[in-house]
């Protein structure tokens, strides 16, 4: 059974309470249609279970298959430096159907980022390293496609619907 490596730490982006009973980690790619499909289901899970759930997202961009995936991950990390990771995360999935190189700046404006700072940050080695570290953690953790989910650090073999079902059954 594959487990999450490394464990969740301060460099991770998370939503929900740190003391939540259940932590879900998603390894995702911003250009992957299956991840876009999972995105509203994760929101439903978060709404249904409230502070019982903590959600963490790590990048797993498949660069050879998806031309904009890596750049999109950089955009989310650059937004994170201005405290707006989740705003960018959501904006990218909401606009996945029209991904292109210019989109990220437009989204940065929409979510109210300091554009000069964003443009500078998105090209830094540190931002690139963060995305690559996430990817490597996915490789180490046995990610076998996107999205891949981990529940309390153990790989969950199933899609987002299966995840929702499992959580509902557990809650009963």
């Amino acid at each position: 059974m594959s487990t999450l490596k490394p464990a969740i730490g301060s460099s991770d982006h998370s939503e929900g309470s740190d003391s939540a009973a259940i932590t879900i980690v998603e390894f995702g790619d911003y250009q992957c249609p299956h991840c876009a499909h999972a995105y509203p289901i994760i929101k439903e899970i978060q709404q249904a279970f409230g502070d019982q759930i903590r959600f963490v997202f790590r990048h797993f961009p498949l660069q050879e298959s998806h031309a904009f995936a890596f750049q999109a991950a950089l955009a989310a990390e650059a937004a994170a430096l201005q405290g707006k990771f989740w705003e960018m995360h959501e904006a990218i999935y909401d606009n996945q159907y029209r991904l292109n190189d210019e989109l990220f700046q437009e989204l940065a404006e929409t979510i109210g980022l300091d554009i000069e700072q964003f443009d500078e940050d998105i090209n830094t080695e540190a931002v690139k390293q963060k995305v690559e570290d996430d990817f490597e953690s996915g490789v180490r953790s046995g990610v076998n496609g996107t999205p891949s989910f981990y529940v309390n650090e153990t790989k969950f073999d199933g899609g987002p619907e299966d995840l929702f079902e499992m959580l509902k059954e557990n809650a009963e």
Partner: protein, 154 residues
């Protein structure tokens, strides 16, 4: 039965393209990862071969060559490779069909395809690790990396 750790990896010579053959023994002195898989063109994104394609730099850090093998023909492999932009060879275990898969104990007689199986072969040509995955489950790469790492610690 799948060949296990410690056995000498059976040598083979298979076509990588219609006019190029690859021999396992050509890679002596390098680690080799053999990934047997059922068929080209599985319909998911980030399928097993596409996934390994993204991870080649982690494998090359360990001086390891990735090789995919299925019973598809070289023409089919070529098209698949181009479509998915794969940067490693896919070998055609096509004639006699499945012969190499059988030698490694990973041929599925019922469907006539290779099973989903992984081998890490060390620099001397010995099997350092092998793993048979349920056909429906893409096994990821963590097992491969663990095996390559433990080879380095020797």
């Amino acid at each position: 039965m799948i060949l296990e750790k410690g056995k000498v990896a059976p040598d083979f010579e298979l076509n990588a393209t219609p006019d190029q053959k690859i021999k396992l023994n050509d890679f002596k002195g390098k680690n080799v990862i053999l990934a047997f898989y059922p068929a080209d063109w599985s319909p998911v994104c980030g399928d097993q071969m596409a996934l390994y394609n993204e991870m080649l730099k982690y494998f090359s850090k360990h001086d390891a060559q990735m090789i995919g093998i299925s019973v598809d023909s070289t023409w089919c492999h070529n098209a698949f490779q181009k479509d998915r932009k794969l940067h490693f060879p896919l070998l055609a275990d096509f004639e006699p069909k499945g012969e190499v898969s059988k030698a490694y104990g990973v041929y599925d007689d019922e469907v006539g395809e290779s099973k989903r199986a992984l081998f890490v072969i060390d620099k001397e040509g010995k099997i350092a690790w092998s793993y048979l995955s349920p056909t429906a489950v893409n096994p990821g790469a963590d097992g491969i990396l663990d095996a390559l790492e433990s080879l380095e610690q020797k």
